[in-house]
Amino acid sequence: MKKIVLLFIFIGLSLAGYAQDKGSVLIENGTVITITDGNKANTDVLIEDGIITEIGQDLSAPRGVETVDASGKYVMPGIIDAHSHIASVDVNEWTNPVTAEVSMEESVDPNDINIYWALAGGVTSIHLMHGSANVIGGQNETLKLRYGTGMDEMRFDGAPRTIKFALGENPTRVHGQGFDVQPRTRMGVEQVIRDHFDAAIDYKRNRAEYLDAKEAYENGDRSTPPVPVAKNERLEVLSDILDGEVLVHTHSYRADEITMLMRVFNDYGIEDYTFQHANEAFKVAPELKKNGAYTSVFADWWAYKFEVYYSTAYNASILNANGVKNSINSDSGELIRHLNHEAAKAVHYGNTSKQDALKMITINPATQLGIDDKVGSIEEGKHGDVAIWDDHPLSIYSKTLKTFVDGKKYFDRAEDNDDMRLKVDAEQDFEAASGRWYNENGRHAETCLQGAEIRFNKQGMKLQSK
C-alpha cells in the first residue's frame, strides 16, 4: 500500500515537472551578444524559472541554481528559424488551391531527431510551416524545441497564429497543370486569393446578419426569420487574416508576384506579412520597405528551379541595406544545423555587418513571427532561450556548447559523448542504404517541397520517392 502511494506521489511529481519544463541557470563571464544592446564582455546572465532576470557583472547564483562558466565563450540568444519543416508529420494538404482550415498543430512530431540536431546548432525556436502546394495552404505552428516532450509542450505559448500562402510555380504546377483547376498561371494565383478574400468578407457579413437575426428571433422578434448561414471554417480563417489576427507567411520567388501580393494586401488592408524564400525580393526592396513587408530568405540557394534562376546570394544584404527587415531561414533539416554559418554568408555577400547578420537569425525572425517581445535577444524579462558558443557564432570554427530553452538545458556537447538523447549503441549496424551523396535534384531533405514533389498527370498522381 505504501509503495502504491509512493508510486502515485512519484507520478504526480514527474507530471508536475513535465508541465513545468522550465529551468534556472547562471551563465557567468561570457561575451554576451545581446542583439538589441550590443556585445557585453565578461557578463553574467541569470535565468530563473525560464525567464532572464538579470544581466550584469558579478551576479551570484540564487540557492540551488546551477552555474555555468562561459569565460572566453559567447552567449547568444537561441537561433530562430522562420521557415522549417522538421518535426512535422504532414506537410502539404494539396487537395484544393485553398485549404486555410487545416493546421500543422496536429502534425508535430516532438521526437523527430532533427529537433535535437537543430538544438546542437543553437536553434531554440522554429516556425513549422505548411507546404507550398496551395495558394493558401494551412496554418503554421511556432514551436520551441523542447525535444522529447509532447506535441502540446512543443508549442510556443502566446505566439500569434500564422498561415502559409504560396505563389508561382508550386501552386500552378500542382493545381493548374496537375488537376486542371485554377490557378495555372500567376494571373490565376492573384484571382484565387481575391476570390477567397471576397468570399470571406461576404461570409462574415452574412454570418453576422444570420446570427443577429437568430438572436433577435429567439428573443421574440418574429419579423425577420433567420436564413441560416452555416459555419465555414475555411472562410473563418480567411476572415481572421483580414482582421489581422493571423500573420501571413508567403512562399514566393519572383519580384512580380511579390509586388502583386503587396497590391492585393493593400486592397484588403492586410499589414503584417513576410515573404518566404523571396529570391527576387532584392529587385523590389524599396517597395517592400515602403509597405513595411518582411522577408525571410535563403543565404545562397538558387537555380534548383526556373523561378530562382535570376537569384543572387547578395539578396539578404540588398534587402538589409534598403531597410527591409530580413531573416535567413533554413527550410532544410541540414541548413538549420548551422544557420549561424548561413548568416555569415550575408557578411561575405554584400558586407552586411556582423551585428545585422546575427539579427537575421534572432530578433528579425522573432519579429516576423510576432514573438519578439519574448525571444530573439538577451534582455531582462525575456525567455531564457540561449546558447553558449565556443567561438564567435559567425565563425566556421565555432561550435554550440550548450543550448537552453526556457532556462532548461536541452543540448550539452560535453555530456553528449555519443548521444545523450538515446540509449542506443551508435556503432550498431546500419540496415538502410541512403540516397546517393551527390545532388540529383538540387534540394536537401526536409524542405517544404517534400510533399509537393508529387508527379501529377491526367491519370492521377504519385508520390515521388526520394
Partner: protein, 439 residues
C-alpha cells in the same frame, strides 16, 4: 588640405569608375605576367611563406619565395596583408552538366541506360553555365564533373572553371568512370521490398556488373592482341561500350565508386580486390567512419562531403562533419566533394567544417587541393603553389574557410579572371536602384 580633399575625391571617382567597369558582362580575363607580392603564401606542399612573392608567366607559376626578383614587364599585385592559396578543387560535382534542376531540358548529367562507360561529361560541359563564374569567384578553380545515372553512369571530367569550350577547360577529359555501387541494403522507409528481394536484386546487379567488367577485360585483351599483331588476327567487331572500358580495365582511368552504407562499402572493397590491375576511388562514403580501417587497409582514397544530416536517426549528430577526420585518422586520403551543382561555391565551407570537426585547417586545406590533385593524377599541374605548376590560385583577405572572408583575385591557368558573376551583377544593379524607379 584642399588638395588632399580633391585628390581623395578624384581617387574615389576613379575607384567608382573601376567598379562600374568591373560590373560589365563584357569584361575580359587578363593574361600575361603577374607578380603577386607581400603575400602570405600557403603553398600546401612546402609550408607557408610570409611576405612571399609568386610570379606567374602565362599559364604557369614560374617562381615562389621570399627573395624573388621581379623582372621587367610583370604586372605587380600588392597582396600585403592578404593570403595566396592554390585554387580549390571540388572532387565531385555536376557543374556544367546541369543548369536548373527542375527544368529537365537543362539537365545533362543523367543519360538513359544502366551501363554507359562511353558517355562523357566532357562532351556536355557548358562553358557558359551561369554557375561557373558564381563558383570560381569563391576560389574554386577546378571541379570533377560527373554523370550520375544507372550503374555505370559515364566518364567524369576534370576541368578548369575558365574557358570558352570544353576543350579549353579540360585538365583531364576522362578523369574517372563513375560507378554507382549496387546496394545490398533497403533504400529507406519507402522501399517495400522484402529482405530476400533486396538480396536477390543485389546479387543480380552485382553479377551484371561483374559480367560487364569481365567482358570489358576480355575485349581489351582481344583488341590489344589484334593491335599488336594485326596481320595474324581477325579484327574484332567494334563495340563502343567495350572500347570505352579499355582505359578503365587497364588502370589508366580510375573508377569512382559511389557507395554510402557500411556493408556496401565493404562489398565494394571486396570487389576492388578482385581487380588489382584497375584503379579505384570511393565517393560519398557516408558510413566511411564506421569502416575507416578497412578503407585504409584497401588503400582507397575517398571523396567526401560534410554538410548533410546523419544517415540514420541514431547516428551521432556530428558524424557527417567528422567523417573526413575519422577517415584521415585511419590513414585514408580524403578529398572534398560537395556533390553539388549551383552551390559548388560552398566547397570551402565543407572543408571548413571538416577542419573544425577534427581534420584541422592544414589537413582540410590539403583535402580541397593537393589530395584531390593526387587522387586524380594531376599533382604535377594542380593542388599547390609550386614553380612549374599551372597558375590556378587565388588571393584572399583571410582564411577562405570562413564564410565571412572575401576573395579578391582569382587566377585560372594564368588568366586573371574578372571577379564578376550574375550574382555580383545583380547586386551592383539592385543594391541602390535609385530614387526614380521606386513607385
Amino acid at each position: 588640405m584642399k588638395y588632399v580633399k580633391q585628390i581623395c575625391s578624384a581617387l574615389l571617382f576613379i575607384c567608382f569608375l573601376g567598379m562600374s567597369a568591373e560590373a560589365q558582362i563584357t569584361e575580359k580575363a587578363e593574361f600575361g605576367k603577374f607578380a603577386i607580392t607581400n603575400a602570405t603564401v600557403h603553398t600546401v606542399t612546402d609550408g607557408t611563406i610570409d611576405n612571399g612573392t609568386v610570379l606567374i608567366d602565362g599559364e604557369k607559376i614560374v617562381s615562389v619565395g621570399t627573395s624573388v626578383s621581379i623582372p621587367q614587364g610583370y604586372n605587380r599585385i600588392d597582396a600585403g596583408g592578404k593570403h595566396v592559396y592554390p585554387g580549390f578543387i571540388d572532387s565531385g560535382t555536376q557543374l556544367g552538366l546541369q543548369e536548373i534542376g527542375a527544368v529537365a531540358v537543362t539537365n545533362d548529367q543523367a543519360e538513359l541506360g544502366d551501363f554507359n562507360p562511353h558517355v562523357r561529361a566532357f562532351t556536355a560541359i557548358n562553358p557558359s553555365s551561369v554557375s561557373i563564374p558564381v563558383t570560381r569567384v569563391n576560389g574554386v578553380t577546378n571541379v570533377i564533373s560527373l554523370p550520375v545515372s544507372g550503374r555505370i553512369a559515364g566518364k567524369a571530367t576534370l576541368i578548369d572553371l575558365y574557358g570558352y569550350s570544353p576543350d579549353s577547360m579540360a585538365v583531364t577529359p576522362n578523369a574517372g568512370l563513375h560507378l554507382n555501387w549496387p546496394s545490398s541494403q533497403k533504400g529507406g522507409w519507402w522501399d517495400d521490398r522484402t529482405e530476400e528481394e533486396v538480396q536477390k536484386e543485389y546479387e543480380q546487379d552485382l553479377k551484371k556488373l561483374k559480367d560487364f567488367v569481365s567482358r570489358a577485360a576480355f575485349y581489351d585483351k582481344m583488341m590489344t592482341d589484334f593491335e599488336e599483331n594485326p596481320e595474324n588476327k581477325d579484327q574484332p567487331d567494334k563495340n563502343k561500350r567495350m572500347q570505352a572500358m579499355r582505359e578503365v580495365v587497364n588502370g589508366e582511368v580510375p573508377v569512382v565508386i559511389s557507395v554510402d552504407a557500411k556493408q556496401d562499402i565493404l562489398n565494394a572493397i571486396e570487389w576492388t580486390k578482385e581487380h588489382p590491375e584497375m584503379e579505384f576511388i570511393l565517393a560519398g562514403v557516408r558510413d566511411g567512419w564506421r569502416v575507416a580501417e578497412e578503407i585504409a587497409d584497401a588503400g582507397l582514397p575517398c571523396l567526401v562531403s560534410t554538410l548533410y544530416t546523419p544517415n540514420r536517426d541514431y547516428d551521432n549528430y556530428q558524424r557527417p562533419y567528422q567523417n573526413p577526420a575519422k577517415l584521415h585518422e585511419a590513414g585514408v586520403k580524403v578529398a572534398i566533394a560537395t556533390g553539388g551543382v549551383e552551390n559548388v561555391r560552398n566547397a570551402p565551407y565543407h572543408a571548413g567544417f571538416a577542419a573544425n570537426y577534427g581534420l584541422g585547417t592544414e589537413e582540410a586545406l590539403k583535402a580541397i587541393t593537393i589530395n584531390a590533385a593526387e587522387i586524380f593524377g594531376v599533382a604535377d599541374k594542380l593542388g599547390s603553389i609550386e614553380e612549374g605548376k599551372q597558375a590556378n590560385l587565388f588571393i584572399a583577405e583571410g582564411d577562405p574557410f570562413e564564410p565571412m572572408n572575401h576573395i579578391t583575385d582569382v587566377f585560372i591557368r594564368g588568366n586573371k579572371i574578372p571577379m564578376v558573376s550574375r550574382h555580383i551583377q545583380l547586386y551592383d544593379q539592385y543594391l541602390d536602384r535609385g530614387a526614380q524607379t521606386s513607385k
